[in-house]
């Protein structure tokens, strides 16, 4: 997704002199093409995320479409008040990009685990929060936020995610996107953990259980009617996110249900249970460790079906 983002941003910048990318001294080897091709639209601000965000706001209020770039929590939590007071209150076109959402930098330790960012960013007014599930959504989201003329948060994975599907290949902010068709249980996913659901679906299909998988890439504006239809159609719905259960995708879907008289037949939220991880490991290892892996999803699906 990281490369898909840069590729998309570079394409936009070719025809738009107002695109501006600022990094907080990260992106070794990844941002070179952009910085060489568009030197006047690029800045390495140094290891200073508060200043990065403030400068981004000054640039945005002067007509630029700004993207701030760093890894894990550095573009969000380190400069949260600059995002709140300066970007959001002023509705500045500052697009905050974090690479390595969830346990993307799992082995680096707790400081690099971005596992509350979705909840925290969702709670800020004026900002749009997007966690793309694959490279396609990443590219489309990048195009969308560049011209949305307001702040946004893009939570991206380092790795590339491409799924084979012949379903909807369209992206619209606020819509949910079905990426796999199935008849038994529906899974709502946000971000790179969508891959877990796709892999679980393959395993389950051999056991004659078919999962329907939806990418809920937009986490503040969510299509209520589309969500209602999913709950109506399927006997059970699971939400899957690599984020604290408080305030993320599962919370958002639960709120939609209660606010709109949608009564799930069966509902399970999968996410992090209000913990910090002192255990390290690869993203896959930590997903399994915290019951967010394929096997866990399979167990939850079967539990629902056995009811």
């Amino acid at each position: 997704m990281r490369d898909a983002f840069i590729e998309s941003l570079s394409k936009i910048a070719e025809n738009d002199k107002d695109i501006f990318l600022i990094t907080g001294d990260l992106g070794f080897g990844v941002l070179d093409n952009f910085s060489e091709k568009f030197p006047s639209q690029f800045l390495n601000v140094g290891v200073a995320e508060q200043n990065m965000t403030g400068i981004a706001v000054g640039l945005a209020l002067s007509g630029y479409k700004v993207f701030t770039y760093s890894i894990a929590n550095f573009t969000t939590l380190r400069c949260l008040e600059q995002i709140r007071n300066d970007a959001c209150y002023h509705n500045a076109n500052v697009n905050v990009v974090s690479i390595g959402g969830g346990f993307g930098y799992g082995a680096l330790g707790m400081s690099h685990h971005a596992t509350e960012d979705l909840s925290i960013m969702r709670s800020l007014p004026n900002i749009e929060v997007i966690a793309p599930g694959d490279d396609f959504e990443t590219k489309e989201a990048t195009k969308y936020v560049a011209n949305s003329n307001k702040p946004s948060y893009l939570r991206l994975e380092r790795a590339s995610h491409i799924y084979e599907n012949d379903l909807e290949n369209s992206f619209a902010y606020g819509k949910i996107r079905q990426i796999r068709e199935g008849n038994d249980i529906a899974v709502f996913c946000s971000g790179g953990v969508t891959k877990v659901a796709m892999n679980a679906a393959k395993i389950l299909s051999k056991q004659n259980i078919s999962l329907s998988i939806y990418s809920v890439h937009s986490l503040k504006t969510i299509d209520v009617n589309a969500v209602a239809k999913v709950f109506e159609k399927y006997s059970g719905v699971v939400t899957l996110e690599e984020n604290n259960l408080i305030g993320g995708l599962g919370s958002a879907i639960s709120e939609i249900c209660l606010d709109n008289r949608i009564y799930p037949k069966s509902f399970k939220r999968m996410g992090l249970k209000d913990i910090y991880s002192s255990v390290v490991g690869s993203q896959e290892y930590l997903r399994d460790f915290y019951n967010l892996g394929e096997e866990d999803l399979i167990i939850n699906v079967k539990k629902i079906m056995d009811k």
């Binding site: 140094g46 403030g54 400068i55 000054g58």
Partner: protein, 263 residues
Amino acid sequence: MDTINLAKNIRSHVLKMTSKGKSSHVGSALSIADILAVLYTNMNVDPKDPSNPKRDRFILSKGHAGAAVYAVLAELDFFSKEILDTHYQDGSILSGHVSHKGVPGVEFSTGSLGHGLSVATGFALAAKRKSLNFNSYALLSDGELDEGSNWEAILFAPHHNLNNLTCIVDYNKLQSLTTVKETLNLEPLTDKIQSFGWNVFDIDGHNHDEIKKAIKANTSKPKFIIANTIKGKGISFMENKVVWHYRSANEDELIKGLKELEE
């Protein structure tokens, strides 16, 4: 109107606004009245076209002194002086900490310290990159320099040769609880800032000629004006007293203060 009378009117509005609203920070607002009067007289801003892309940008980073900014903008006809009466009242858009929403001429909303200089730096960088000929100003309090974010910007601006950026520090030497010296000493401030690569002007922040000269000076580096001021300046019983960071003038004190301004 000359800058001396403009500063006097700012002080008068500030006294009345904070007294009526029973709001804090009157000392902080009085401290910067002269700086604002001279700055707004010399900046390229137009009350008839407050969003002109070529305008100079000014951010009051010490947002708690917002009453003084509202006052100077009303004096310069960005909006009606009558609106000043609503300051700090229920339903008012004139918040205690300066806010831009619905208030023509306010460039940026602040209130949490340590934000303004980075945004002003962003304005200055945009002017350079877009070859626009405007200047960017941020006015900070001295206590505000305790915030680490400022030092990120102080490191950044000279590295990028932002000579269209001016940082002014209202150095009244009193912060929230006691003196700057006792709280977190900034000295030697001139040496510190110079060593970061700024062109430093150490001036009397109530002397209009000195303020104008510093603002107008052409430099090849970003400019840092250390404006030595007196908190509560102009009202004898408010000068250099921390309590006026919190208190506002009661009726008798308001009359006495306004009388002093007329003398």
